[in-house]
């Protein structure tokens, strides 16, 4: 008797569960705004351009054609051509991988520094906190780009320097956010409740503080990725980035600077690529953040 009821119970439970899950998935999928899907689609395009540029490019990005130099955007060259007759769109596609590598590298470095400082300040006690906070305050006094320029002056202008400059320049902002997260979570009611249950500090840190304080990390990484590519392109625009023959986005901007009066597309089109990329990661990051902060309830 009891065993039968258990079995039917389980079966009912399973089918009910399945339906519940299905409706959950459906409401989840339809609850995401269209803008997020568009952003994800565009981001997919960028990833494709980085991994397999051959699929997207329309011309050989390195082949010069002296009969069609500096042509405005048209159907055959949608982003126009440069001073050597190379197809700008194909060059933008070709440069995606390197630009992304710079962005990812700078974000990784920046997050590593930020996590180290932020966690040390957030969990390390009052001394560590006030020392690190002071240090961050000092770092904030330097305009981001100026700090990066200082690095470029002291060390050679290479891709590595560019990554370090952007990574170090953007780290303090994230470090402060992470520190704030840890301090907020430490004061949370559930941390006190766990203390009252008699759990050890290590267990509370492992079970509650870490996972909760780290929740916005994904958001920070997405937003940071867009930011660091924009910053790196700014440096490259000033001629302090990767050397020109490479079609990295910043290098394209730098090369186009001399022709801006006659051929605006050399400057506008690569910049457009950067903005579209930054915008799509921002849209996704913002959406994730809204979700995290509970401003967005899918069910």
């Amino acid at each position: 008797m009891s065993s039968t009821s258990t079995i039917t119970g389980t079966r009912l439970g399973f089918s009910g569960d399945f339906r519940r899950r299905l409706t959950y998935v459906v409401t989840f999928v339809t609850s995401i705004p269209v803008s997020v899907y568009v952003a994800a689609f565009i981001l997919g395009g960028f990833v494709l351009a980085a991994l397999a540029p051959g699929v997207l490019r329309t011309h050989d990005p390195f082949r010069t054609d002296l009969f069609s130099t500096l042509q405005a955007p048209s159907l055959s060259h949608i982003f126009g051509t440069d001073q050597s007759g190379r197809d700008v769109f194909s060059r933008v596609v070709q440069g995606t991988a390197q630009s992304m590598a710079i962005g990812v590298g700078a974000t990784t470095l920046s997050m590593s520094i930020a996590l180290t400082l932020g966690i040390a300040a957030g969990l390390g006690g009052r001394m560590a906190d006030s020392l690190i906070s002071r240090f961050l305050e000092v770092m904030f006094a330097f305009p981001n780009l100026f700090l990066a320029l200082l690095f470029v002056t002291i060390f050679d202008a290479t891709t590595a320097t560019l990554i370090v400059a952007v990574g170090v320049g953007t780290a303090p902002g994230y470090a402060r956010m992470i520190r704030g997260q840890f301090l907020a979570v430490r004061r949370a009611g559930y941390v006190e409740a766990a203390t009252a249950l008699g759990h050890s500090w290590q267990r509370i840190v492992r079970q509650h503080i870490f996972p909760n304080a780290m929740r916005p990390l994904v958001v920070m990484i997405t937003l940071g990725l867009g930011q660091s590519i924009v910053w790196a392109s700014g440096l490259a625009f000033l001629g302090l980035g990767v050397a020109p023959p490479s079609p990295e986005w910043g290098a394209l901007l730098d090369a186009g600077r001399d022709y801006v009066v006659n051929a605006w597309w050399l400057e506008v089109m690569p910049g457009f690529a950067i903005i579209v990329f930054a915008l799509s990661v921002t849209v996704i990051g913002q959406h994730l953040q809204d979700r995290l902060e509970g401003r967005f309830h899918p069910v």
Binding site: S35, F146, I154, F237, V260, I274
Partner: protein, 330 residues
Amino acid sequence: MSVVTAGVASTADRAGGRRRVRWVASRLLGAITVFWATATFTFCVQALMPGNRAEMIINLASGTFSQPSAAQIAAVNAKYGFNDPLIVQYSHYISGLVSGDFGESYQAHRPVIDIIAEQIWPTIQLTLSALVLAWVMAIVLTLATAGRQGRVSSFVGALQVAIAVSPPYWIGTILLVIFAVKLGLFPVEGNNGLPGLVLPSLALAIPLSGFIGRIIREEFARVLEQPFVMSSRMRGMGDFGVRLRHVLRHAVLPGVTLSGWALGALFSGAAVIETVFARPGIGGLLVSATSVRDIPLVTGIIVVSAGMYIVANLIVDLAYPIIDPRLKAA
């Protein structure tokens, strides 16, 4: 509400005044400490420079890449004190800063402080006008659309996100091509007058207004839901009146705390914009100094701009109670 019983107020005022003096003094001391630390940090970074500095200076001065003689190198080393222990160099550097001596440019052979003094005014003009423009644009758009439903409002919201991620050089280029090259309304480059200031300020202000706009817009929508807004409407205040007289002041607060940060962003942007529009200014100066590795000039500009950031933050700190009177009373 001009009537106040003078006797009650004065003792409280005196105690409050003393607390306020102490508060201002502590802020001032904090600012000086941060400035000293930024100078120290800059010194440490430039001390890390690899390679032979004397050799570099000689090459820079002659414009060639040759192998200078040992005597030449020794002379340069003696002049700049490169052979001294780091601690001696550091104390020279700091005592120089205190007396306003930022060293001598490797390239121009003139005091760094003079070069900066010549170029700083256009940059201040540019950044301040951009800051004002950015705030005006952000406030107007927020007042008109924040917390409303409908297409215009969501379009403005999306636009603010988009311009916030747009780099100033890109916006600058577009403005330059359209308004200066195609339409010929403004000069293409240089020109220190007012027409020459319009496009560069706009190029700097647009991304910043997107950034500020996003922050105050979110806060605006939040404050609009507060009971005191309802309370005011129950007294007969209209929708726009509530926005202008009650909500705006609350919504602006988080934007103001970020003004110091915004100034840093503006300096960064100025470096790029001054290059795009070939404007004089310390930003463009820094970029050219960087490309020739004129270290005293680079560190000088960075220390000065950090100092300006610190002063600006101090001003924001001290002026903040005017917008948020709760701090004055506390």
